[in-house]
Amino acid sequence: MPEPGRHSPGVHRRWDLAGLGLLSPLLLLLLFAFLLPIATLIPTSLRPYIAGTGIGEGLTLEHYVKALTDGFYLEIILRTVVLGLVVTLLTLVVGYPLAYVLARSTSRWRHWLMLLVVFPLLLNLVVRTFGWIALLARRGLVNQWLMGLGLTEEPVRLMFNFTGLLIGLTHIFLPFMVLVLVAVIQNIPREVEDAARTLGAGFWSVFMRVTLPLSVPGILSGSILVFVLTISALVTPRLLGGPTYKVMSTLIYEQFLQLLNWPAGSAMAVVMTLIVLALILLGTRLARRWEAQA
């Protein structure tokens, strides 16, 4: 193993420049096409909006006040958060067993099965949601089956409500959760589970006392990921929820492109960003504390 070379300060500085030079395109891009625009949402959100005329002069906090006190908006925010929580829980419960099987599998089809999980992720969101419309609509397949089997008289309302969004979003984000969990479970050395087994633990004991606790960091990061993605979702809620059953993203969409109320939309976007950032910070702190305990 060669000893690490000590670079003279002169050489070090020269290399730093090359390194910085390589990084600068991306950093500049992110600065001007990402960070700066998001920052300018704040000034926009502080402007008043006069219906019929457009964005007015001066500064006002009315949009934020409305977002956080008006019942209509609060309901949407609450609905979005609850949706996030339930979807996260569902993807976790449904996805963990699958992830466990895939992670521990030794079959030669494993690679292709993993790709089968990834495949929906690469498919267009619109396409996948469209498939759910064909299934969940009043005249969709599910209702046809239910009525054909005589289980219901009337078509069940599976779209434009919480149920529809729940099914659709769980489907969309399940692969994300599975992929994160597979990576985490794979990192738990098989030997640790084997050691538990030689010490007399049966299958469920090993799982509850060894595998599950060790996969908590992964469960945490996967949950944060799915939660953030769920509350940010636009396409699926818009198509499965319709224009009347709104979530935060579709509200922003409506305000920007239909109501042309950019300040209110920006305020909502800022609120959403803050929620996301808070979540990620919370998640990293929790993960760090869990790792410190372990």
């Binding site: 390589l22 067993p97 267009n124 993203s249």
Partner: protein, 262 residues
């Protein structure tokens, strides 16, 4: 429960979950052949007419063209910028790498809708609203993290001494990179390029706010089409997308072992 019974339960469960994952995809493909506006099982008739409509529609073709062009340009830019970034992160001594990494990856978790509206009002202030260049910039921002992630993985697995060996044999740093490191990074570059292309091609939340009158992308077009009502033409376009994605995935797996990057 015996181990073998457990195995069968596991297999059944996996089959059910995979079934759930593939269900809408299958439905879309089936619906594209149906004669009725709504898919019925058993289908009332089989036809290829919706595919014909897609391939004849000037609107759809132009949207496909726009998406292809946009995705290609964005992917190439993302590959260049992303590879340079991961090279700097892996091979160069720089302060605060963790922070830089976090910043580089942040577009991945940021709500697309926020990025979209932020750019919309930013571009409007600058007079770039609805421009193709603005759209490209936005797409590069959201695709670069994928490229950085896969090329970083590829690069980390390479022996740093290979470039040194090339230098002692007479190659300057740039030639060493071009002839030794880059070819060995190919799996990461291909995987990153695939992720980037698909992310750009499929994107709606950012694109929908930035498309102008002449620059509609395919997914935005499908999105607005669905909002107006269900039409098997949409199913046909969607099936074509499904087919090409599946093909690309198989090719990527065969060529560079794509599953390693998932």
């Amino acid at each position: 429960m015996t181990p073998s019974a457990r195995r069968w339960v596991a297999r059944l469960y996996c089959a059910l979950v995979f079934g759930f994952l593939m269900l809408p995809v299958a439905v879309v493909v089936l619906a594209s052949f149906s004669t009725t506006a709504y898919l019925t099982i058993p289908p009332q008739g089989v036809t290829l007419r919706w595919y014909g409509r897609v391939l004849e529609s000037a609107d759809y073709l132009s949207a496909i063209g726009t998406s292809l062009l946009l995705a290609s340009v964005a992917t190439v830019c993302a590959l260049v910028i992303g590879t340079a970034t991961s090279y700097a992160l892996v091979r160069r001594a720089l302060p605060g790498k963790a922070v830089v990494s976090a910043v580089v990856m942040s577009p991945l978790i940021f709500p697309g809708v926020v990025i979209g509206v932020a750019l919309l009002q930013f571009y409007a202030a600058l007079g770039l609203a609805g421009s193709f260049a603005g759209l490209v910039l936005a797409h590069v921002v959201i695709t670069v993290p994928y490229v950085v992630r896969t090329t970083l993985a590829s690069l980390s697995g390479l022996d740093a001494q290979l470039e040194d060996a090339a230098c002692t044999l007479g190659a300057d740093r740039l030639t060493a990179f071009w002839k030794v490191t880059l070819p060995l990074m190919r799996p990461g570059i291909v995987a990153g390029g695939l992720f980037a292309f698909i992310t750009s091609f499929d994107n709606v939340p950012v694109s929908i706010f930035l498309t102008g009158v002449g620059t509609t992308t395919l997914p935005v077009k499908i999105f607005t089409a669905i909002e107006f009502g269900v039409d098997p033409t949409v199913a046909a376009v969607s099936s074509l997308l499904i087919l090409t994605t599946a093909l690309a995935l198989v090719l990527a797996e065969r060529w560079v072992g794509f599953h390693r990057f998932t």
